[in-house]
């Protein structure tokens, strides 16, 4: 971008965290330069604990030293603090903004938790998680509708909220014995479309790496 002006942005993240990736994608979409600081979550830094004393979690955005926590709050902050850059939430349309917030909230409430149950549980719990995962993906596909992106023609807030989880689709497919392509072809097509964007390609890890990291987690937790 023209004249890399230092706006004093830093992001505390963890490589495979989809919540951190939302922020990285948003920063790139808005053409903002920042310093990325990978965190060791098993051994949390003073900086992280000071910046997020309430939750002690990543991601945390530091803007000239002031912390903003919670990924969707960070994305909205970037949108509002840097309004001249492309808008992630549709400007001037409160109803469209409400819809975007609703769907981003839906992703937060449903997807990660269900995905976790899918790889953690066995038997009935696993079967229940699989059924829910298909329902969640179909619901999201319904929200996408016929648009290129969730907001319509432009890549926006809901796309940012959901796209990091596309790296987790493969893991959901393997742990859930399901096919996103088969269950939700339009959602699968949306995922491919997003992957072509530089901000997404640059910040997401290959699905195989995510799957590997989940297997690692399972092992550490003593789950077969």
């Amino acid at each position: 971008m023209a004249g890399e002006k230092k706006q004093g942005l830093q992001l505390l993240g963890f490589w495979v965290s989809p919540f951190g990736q939302r922020c990285r994608i948003a920063l790139d979409e808005k053409g903002l330069s920042y310093e990325y600081l990978e965190q060791d979550l098993a051994n949390k830094s003073e900086l992280l604990l000071r910046a997020n004393p309430v939750h002690k979690k990543i991601p945390v955005l530091l803007h000239d030293g002031r912390p903003v926590c919670e990924s969707l709050i960070i994305v909205q902050y970037l949108d509002e603090a840097f309004p001249a850059m492309p808008a992630l939430l549709p400007a001037g349309d409160p109803y469209a903004r409400a819809q975007a917030r609703f769907w981003a909230d839906y992703v937060d409430k449903k997807l990660y938790d269900c995905g976790t149950r899918l790889w953690k549980l066995k038997g009935d719990g696993h079967a229940q998680a699989r059924t829910e995962m298909v329902e969640i993906l179909r619901t999201l596909e319904g929200a996408l509708g016929e648009g290129r992106f969730f907001g319509g023609e432009a890549f926006g807030f809901v796309d940012v909220a959901l796209v990091p989880f596309t790296s987790w689709f493969l893991a959901y497919e393997w742990f859930g014995d399901l096919s996103v392509e088969k269950e939700c072809p339009r959602l699968a097509a949306w995922a491919k479309r997003c992957a072509e964007r530089p901000s997404v390609a640059k910040n997401l890890y290959p699905p195989e790496k995510v799957y590997e990291s989940i297997c690692g987690m399972k092992k550490r937790l003593g789950i077969e």
Binding site: Q76, Y77, E80, A81, F102
Partner: protein, 240 residues
């Protein structure tokens, strides 16, 4: 009706709700602060209306605000929607204009829903002395964090939002009447004025705000409902 001159603020308002829901209470307060008239429809959550199921097919929950026929769901989404649509008209803005302050307000509103409510809910639902004691300990830790948040956000003023009620006030303020019902029955004192002077005084001020006072459920009735619910066998998951 809304004071905004023609356009975005127009359209009939309907609110699908339940009198015992803190989340519905939030929306009623927000609408009241703006002097907005609306049709209130009390839902029977054991027998959900077609309108509710059509308006919120994803969660099937209240509150749902229907504006000019278009539904908005999830209380915090609704509050921000009301704030944006009727921005600049009667009543205070729920969110400040500075982006950093907005992020701070959103953070604490999310904290109320994600941390305070589960902790309080565990206390609300506890049936044995043991459950109650553990739940109380956890709840008090969260209230302690909120006391600090109040000092940080209010900067010496009356509300989290400053001089006027804001997003965090309404979000947290939807719970004190239920906290009082629990206190009555369990002999607890959640917003203890000695331990949490900021919050205790804030709760009094919030409950005295006109728009809050006008829609607050009757405390006696709430207590009776709460007592009755504790006497019944554990129910299936709450749907509101």
């Amino acid at each position: 009706m809304a004071a905004a001159g023609g356009g975005v603020g127009d359209g009939e308002l309907r609110l699908l709700g339940k009198s015992s829901s803190p989340w519905v209470f939030r929306v009623r307060v927000a609408l009241g602060l703006r002097g907005l008239s609306y049709e209130y429809i009390e839902e029977d959550l054991a027998n959900k209306s077609d309108l509710l199921l059509r308006s919120n097919p994803v969660h099937k929950k209240v509150p749902v605000l229907i504006h000019g026929g278009r539904p908005v769901c999830e209380s915090l989404v609704i509050l921000q929607y009301v704030d944006e649509i009727w921005w600049g008209t009667t009543g205070p803005a729920l969110l400040p204009s500075d982006p950093y302050d907005r992020a701070t307000a959103r953070f604490w509103a999310a904290f109320v829903d994600d941390k305070f409510f589960p902790a309080f809910s565990a206390l609300f639902r506890s049936r044995t002395d043991e459950q109650r004691a553990e739940a109380l300990q956890n709840a008090l830790l969260v209230v302690e964090t909120l006391e600090r948040a109040f000092r940080e956000c209010s900067k010496g003023k009356a509300f989290f939002g400053g001089d006027a009620v804001g997003l965090v006030d309404i979000t947290l303020g939807s719970h004190p009447i239920w906290m009082r019902a629990v206190d009555e029955m369990a002999g607890t004192n959640l917003l203890d004025g000695d331990k949490f002077p900021g919050l205790a005084a804030w709760a009094e001020r919030f409950m005295a705000v006109d728009a809050v006072n006008r829609v607050v459920p009757d405390a006696g009735k709430l207590l009776e409902q709460y007592k009755a619910s504790r006497a019944m066998p554990p129910p299936a998951a709450d749907s509101s």
